[in-house]
């Protein structure tokens, strides 16, 4: 009988050589006349073990990793096709503690199935949510979303049900669903993992959204930095069309819903929803004034549901298992689970899907294993380039939208970037301003000019020129940007700057003064 061998085709696994491992396994198997079937799965998200190769044995799936091309012959010698022992053996995949301790709802299938296999998707509870949604009236479906407590996972955490209700209640000849897959925040990669590892869950989620609010066309706006995700999605959409899950008659319901992938072009600002709409319309990604809300006048002026990949990919399980099942995870007003992404200077970087409430410290040390460099972790940035830098004394904060807001931070898209004690926080503050200057759409003055002035003022401070005066100026500038900017880019760029200044003031002394201090 053919043995199934799983070798991920996730971008990160590929970036570590998964393609050459897959070729080597195929060549070695042919040479030894071993009967194997190679499945190119998504990643389980244990990135320090990638490329992680799994084999289906009588005892279930067992893992080996990190595997390089050079290890392949030895793995065959060790009888890995039957789970044989080897230095790279990790035992049964499901028993790896990092995975075992997680609560994977949105990521239930990622790394387990063949991302493009419709049969696999259906066999792992796929399309159940869509069938349930098709049997409901729009209002009942919206109620389901509201009751699940699902909030936008892109970063703003706006209750998804409210947005949907507005679109449902606005009558129009055409409505749209737009998926924001412009995952530009450093430290985040969960959207990418879903698109590459379980594209049908996103397609199903978007179909549920479309059917519910009466939209017949959806767009997935994927950043150009993710060429592999674009290819997988396009392929999955074409397959879902042939199987009748997309198209003029979704699952024989008589309702239409179709999808198209649209590629961004390297502009961070296009992750802001109105700027993304402009981009989809073929324009410069300039932020729009609100109102009107996109839910009333969005893409091409029509009512539009805009949600992030993870928000949409969480819908199938909510509809399949009911709102209560999802809502029962989490704490306070943060319901359900969050796919957290551990990144930067950590020993065990990876995807950790947990109910809200897990603390930063647990994530950094119990999961992340401390810094990769072995030095103390000095600062952590949560929620991307617009998130505050948090010092050690805040590591006990639970991941919860309100708890983070209370300390002037944000959960955002759930990316966590750790820095060891070699980090220069004045340089990071300067980078935040520099990044804003590069990526500002230029529509409002505080963002367009403030960011450039921010870089200059930080340079003056670090050089020791009129330090106190310039710190006061920087604080004033941050205040202007926060209160005067049109969108979150200008409005939140000051958060990393202010937090760096507040918690790491010594880094802002000139190198000469720092030595004296």
């Amino acid at each position: 009988m053919s043995v199934r061998v799983y070798i991920p085709r996730d971008s990160s696994a590929l970036s570590l050589g998964a393609e050459s491992v897959a070729s080597a396994v195929a060549v070695e198997a042919a040479r030894r006349r071993a009967d194997i079937t190679i499945v190119r799965n998504g990643s389980r998200g244990l990135y320090w073990l990638e490329p992680m190769v799994e084999v289906e044995t009588v005892q279930g799936r067992v893992a080996y990793g990190p595997v390089t091309m050079k290890d392949v012959a030895a793995l065959f010698d060790a009888g890995f096709l039957h789970g044989g022992p080897h230095a790279l053996s990790l035992g049964p995949t499901g028993k790896i503690p990092y995975l075992q301790k997680q609560e994977r709802l949105t990521f239930a299938r990622v790394g387990i199935t063949d991302p493009l296999s419709l049969a696999d998707y259906a066999a792992h509870d796929g399309w159940k949510g869509l069938r349930a949604a098709l049997a409901m009236q729009g209002a009942a479906a919206v109620k389901q979303v509201t009751e699940s407590g699902l909030r936008g996972r892109g970063g703003a955490a706006f209750p998804a049900g409210i947005k949907w209700k507005t679109v449902l209640d606005t009558s129009a000849d055409q409505k749209y669903v737009v998926c924001n897959a412009d995952e530009g925040d450093s430290g985040t990669y969960s959207d990418r993992m879903i698109m590459e590892g379980d594209p049908y869950v996103l397609i199903e989620g978007m179909a549920i959204a479309g059917i519910t609010v009466g939209a017949t066309q959806g767009y997935i706006y994927v950043r150009s930095e993710y060429p592999h995700s674009c290819r997988v999605l396009a392929e999955a959409i074409a397959l879902a069309r042939t199987s009748g899950h997309l198209g003029p008659d979704v699952l024989g319901s008589g309702k239409a819903f179709d999808l198209e992938v649209r590629k961004g072009a390297g502009a961070y600002i296009c992750g802001e929803e109105t700027s993304m709409l402009e981009s989809l319309e073929g324009k410069r990604g300039m932020v729009r004034f609100k109102p009107p809300l996109p839910a009333i006048a969005g893409l091409f002026g029509k009512p539009t549901v805009i949600n992030n990949v993870i928000t949409l990919a969480s819908l199938p399980i909510i509809f399949a298992q009911g709102a209560a099942h999802y809502r029962d995870f989490g704490m306070g007003k943060s319901r359900g689970t969050l796919p957290i992404q551990l990144a930067g200077n950590l020993k065990y970087c990876g995807l950790v899907e947990k109910a809200f409430g897990v603390t930063l410290r647990e994530l950094l040390y119990d999961y992340g294993g401390g810094s990769a460099s072995g030095r103390p972790i000095r600062a952590v940035q949560v929620g991307g380039p617009l998130g505050a830098y948090l010092p050690e004394q805040q590591f006990d904060t639970p991941l919860d939208y309100e708890a983070f807001a209370a300390i002037g931070a944000m959960v955002g898209h759930g990316g966590i970037v750790a820095f060891d004690d070699t980090v220069d926080m004045a340089a990071m503050a300067r980078y935040a301003m520099e990044f804003c200057a590069i990526e500002s759409c230029g529509k409002c003055t505080p963002c367009r000019i403030g960011s450039t002035r921010g870089v200059e003022v930080i340079d003056h401070i670090v050089a020791g020129r009129e330090r106190d005066k310039n710190i006061a100026l920087l604080e004033d500038l941050c205040d202007t940007m926060i209160n005067g900017s049109l969108c979150a880019l200008g409005g939140m760029t000051p958060f990393p700057v202010q937090s760096a200044l507040k918690y790491f003031p010594n880094d802002f002394r000139s190198s000469l003064n720092r030595k004296v201090a």
Binding site: S11, G187, Y189, H228, R262, G264, G344, V423
Partner: protein, 160 residues
Amino acid sequence: MSEHEQDRNAVINRVLEERKHQPGALLPILHGIQDALGYVPREAIAQIAQALNLSRAEIHGVVSFYHHFRTSPPGRHTVYLCRAESCQSMGANQLVEHAKAILGVDFHETTRDGAYTLEPIYCLGNCACSPAMMIDEETYGRVTPERFEEVVSSVKEVTA
């Protein structure tokens, strides 16, 4: 009109014919042209403007807004180095300096032999394997200075 220009025009016209009727067609058109030619020639702007019934200024405004689009030909390979926070926490700044020294160019420049164009990029979603880079459409993780040299030269040998 040279043969090269004729070929280029044929590509631009083909992309325009295929894509101009899509709603919000401009980005798909620019991607189509850049994917085929490696850049969006300035001469294409008038053709696109005419096909979409927009002004040349509007097309220029869009091309120049997005970092991804370029109006001059790149080298045979484009090396994108990630400068974002996660990669910085794992030594991206040192990698950038190393890459610039090895290739002898700054960002947005092309090596004298035309082999590589060096570009900064802000996140490849490979933050669990920082520092990261992308060459053309292949991503690489945990890029040490040694691995950088190894990968860059292997790419050149394969397809140059």
